[in-house]
């Protein structure tokens, strides 16, 4: 990671930092408080209003998706006597031709899609970080083998690969998550490897090695924490691409499958009715965009906060 640029002067030994109570003299050397790296990152992030707003909206969406179904009067499987009614007080998002309440359907779809997206991000990040760290740290044959394999996966459209793999399974959400997460791991692996390659040449890693630190220790104590910023930003953006990948796969018919539902399944079912019963198509789509958009903004804010060199001078 790049060192944060601090406007405060480097502290010098033996100088009091605040007002000296004995003399009442103002200490002039430090007019800017010395902050820890975490505090600085937090400050930078909190100033990014769009990112903070996005985080709040995203958390509300998650709450909505997981708590909502328990509070709402209809289950997503409930068949109500109202067929194909437009949005009303009773059915805020309307109903489909079978009488399913779309609000309950969207709640369930959102829940499934968020579950898949978060799992994809988790699997890809953990897998990719391991992949990249091992590859970058050992270099040589291991690195070559792991990276060539990553290249192979990256040469094939991952949507096609995911569809081919998912074709053989029933559409349960965790299988979709494992497949899509696994296919996203090489991306993360490549990024992390690049980081590791540059960090491993730094003096402090050499110093640790000279002191007899084991490979595992160096990896866990020096390499992983330093690649942290990049990994966190990537993980956030993976949630956004994850939800898009899940819905795309479901749209083609190889992701989550009815009777279970996801936002992608809802759009697939609603696409034929886009001109006649638009609520079936627009509501699930708007929720996908909302999730992906907030997560993308969040990732952008995190990148700014964790990598201050890019946006040093804000107007």
């Amino acid at each position: 990671m790049t060192e944060p640029t601090t406007k405060a002067a480097a502290p010098s030994a033996g100088k009091p930092v605040a007002t000296d109570p004995a003399t009442g003299r103002v200490e002039r050397e430090f007019t800017v408080k010395d902050r820890s790296q975490f505090q600085q990152t937090m400050r930078r992030f909190l100033r990014h209003k769009l990112a903070v707003g996005s985080l709040i909206v995203f958390l509300l969406l998650v709450l909505f998706a997981f708590v909502g179904p328990h509070l709402w009067k209809y289950q997503y499987t409930t068949i109500t006597p109202d067929n194909s009614v437009p949005p009303s007080m009773k059915h805020p998002f309307g109903t489909d031709n079978l009488g399913h309440d779309m609000f309950a359907q969207v709640l369930r779809g959102l829940q499934q899609s968020i579950k898949v997206a978060l799992s994809i991000a988790l699997i890809a990040t953990v897998g990719g970080t391991l992949w990249g760290t091992i590859s970058g740290y050992y270099k040589g044959f291991v690195d070559n083998a792991l990276m060539r394999f990553a290249d192979l996966i990256l040469t094939i459209p991952s949507l096609a690969l995911a569809a081919a793999l998912a074709n053989n399974f029933s559409g349960s959400w965790w299988i979709i998550a494992i497949i899509l997460g696994g296919l996203a791991a090489p991306y993360v692996g490549r990024v992390v490897r690049g980081m590791v390659l540059s960090i491993r040449e730094r003096e402090y890693v050499e110093a640790a090695r000279a002191l007899g630190a084991s490979d595992i220790r160096i990896m866990l104590r020096h390499l992983v924490p330093n690649a942290f910023a990049v990994v966190v930003v990537n993980a956030t953006l993976l949630v956004a691409s994850g939800i898009l990948a899940e819905t795309s796969l479901s749209f083609l018919g190889f992701g989550v499958r009815p009777p279970d539902t996801s936002l992608g399944v809802l759009i697939t079912l609603g696409q034929g009715a886009v001109n006649t019963r638009p609520w079936l198509f627009y509501f699930p789509g708007l929720f996908i965009i909302l999730v992906a958009l907030t997560v993308n903004f969040l990732g952008d804010g995190l990148r700014d906060a964790l990598d201050p060199q890019q946006t040093r001078q804000r107007r």
């Binding site: 406007k7 405060a8 002067a9 480097a10 010098s12 100088k15 003299r25 103002v26 200490e27 002039r28 050397e29 430090f30 007019t31 800017v32 400050r43 930078r44 100033r47 040093r312 001078q313 804000r314 107007r315």
Partner: protein, 366 residues
């Protein structure tokens, strides 16, 4: 020069020798922590053919004040005061109006030669570009001039080197190319911002030689920015010492080196290893660090590090005033107390050396 009186202003306007006149220049940057006052009221004049040095620690505002002259500050910078070149005000010029002066009348050499040149073009192309920007010559003519310029700055085999890419050259050679670009249009002023700092000591001399060659060829006035007093001593006639965004002492080489009147300048000299003094003398560091330029309190910014500090230093920031001559100015309430004082008397050495304590005591006692 910096005391703003009507008499001095009147004189400078009528003086055809004054090329560049900076008056009460302030530059500030809004940042996350508040406004950074990088330059706080700097005034100086540069005469035709003159070589002036600006010394100071990093962050003292010496680079920023020069970038302001070139109009190359980032958009977020707030600049006020006046910068005049041959009587013409530079501040407020549009980017393209400024472009006619840059590289043509005033040119600049930057610190890091490894990143200063564009990696995707040959050095010949980049040199010719500078020539073509201000002259109505053919491409062949510009190319020939590029070869000639490379020869002038001492690059061997310039006919072949002209088609090299920057990455095919060493750091010292690249800096000489940058110097060649700076002299391409026979400018009146060359500003060199730490031209040797990023280079090996062995290469520094060659680069300074190239700089001298450029001056000799163009007759340009030089503003040499550095933190290296050794470089200044050999290449400048006049020195401005900068601290915390202000000039704190101005004078000739002899004034500053032998009769400094500001504790900071004195401290700088004390931290410089010298061959002409006895080998037993220790270097005297200035303890502490320069102040942050955000929310600078009233008073002299050097107060916390100054051994002479009194209550008045906390309250009033001293102005530059004439000392032993009208050309030697210092900004210190107690500049008179510094007459004949050596750095070792004012600042303590880092660690006590038993052999030296006695003699040092004797010296103070005298």
């Amino acid at each position: 020069m910096t005391v703003k009186t009507n008499i001095q202003l009147g004189r400078s306007e009528s003086d055809p020798d004054v090329l560049l006149e900076v008056e009460n220049l302030t530059v500030s940057f809004p940042t996350d922590d508040g406004v950074v006052n990088a330059v706080r009221g700097v005034s100086y004049q540069l005469r035709r053919g003159e070589a002036m040095g600006i010394v100071g620690e990093s962050g003292s505002g010496k680079s920023v004040s020069s970038l302001a002259v070139m109009g190359l500050l980032p958009k977020s910078a707030r600049v006020s005061g006046s910068i005049r070149f041959q009587g013409e005000s530079l501040l407020g010029k549009s980017e393209n109006q400024y472009a006619e002066i840059r590289g043509n009348k005033i040119s600049m050499i930057f610190q890091d030669p490894l990143t200063s040149l564009n990696p995707v073009y040959t050095v010949g192309y980049q040199l010719a570009e500078a020539v073509l920007a201000h002259n109505d010559v053919s491409k062949q003519g510009a190319h020939d001039r590029a070869v000639e310029l490379l020869r002038l700055v001492g690059i061997p085999f310039p006919e072949q080197r002209v088609s090299n890419y920057p990455h095919e050259m060493s750091g010292g050679m690249r800096q000489r190319v940058v110097i060649a670009i700076a002299m391409a249009n026979n400018p009146d002023v060359i500003i060199a911002d730490e031209p040797t700092t990023a280079l090996d000591v062995t290469v520094q001399a060659q680069v300074l030689e190239a700089l001298e060659a450029a001056r000799a060829e163009t007759g340009a006035a030089l503003v040499l920015i550095t933190h290296d007093l050794g470089v200044i001593a050999g290449h400048a006639e006049r020195i401005c010492v900068m601290y915390a965004g202000k000039l704190v002492e101005v004078g000739s080489i002899d004034d500053i080196f032998y009769r400094p009147r500001m504790p900071y300048a004195l401290g700088l000299l004390g931290s410089l290893p010298r061959l002409d003094s006895s080998s037993k003398q220790r270097l005297t560091p200035i303890t502490g660090a320069p102040p942050s330029l955000v929310n600078l309190p009233a008073g002299c910014p050097f107060t916390p590090r100054c051994p002479l500090a009194q209550d008045v230093c906390e309250e009033n920031e001293p102005n530059l005033v004439a000392t032993d001559s009208s050309a030697h100015l210092a900004a210190c309430h107690f500049h008179e107390k510094l007459v004949g004082v050596s750095a070792r008397q004012l600042f303590s050495t880092t660690s006590a050396d038993p052999d030296l304590i006695d003699s040092a005591d004797q010296e103070v006692a005298q």
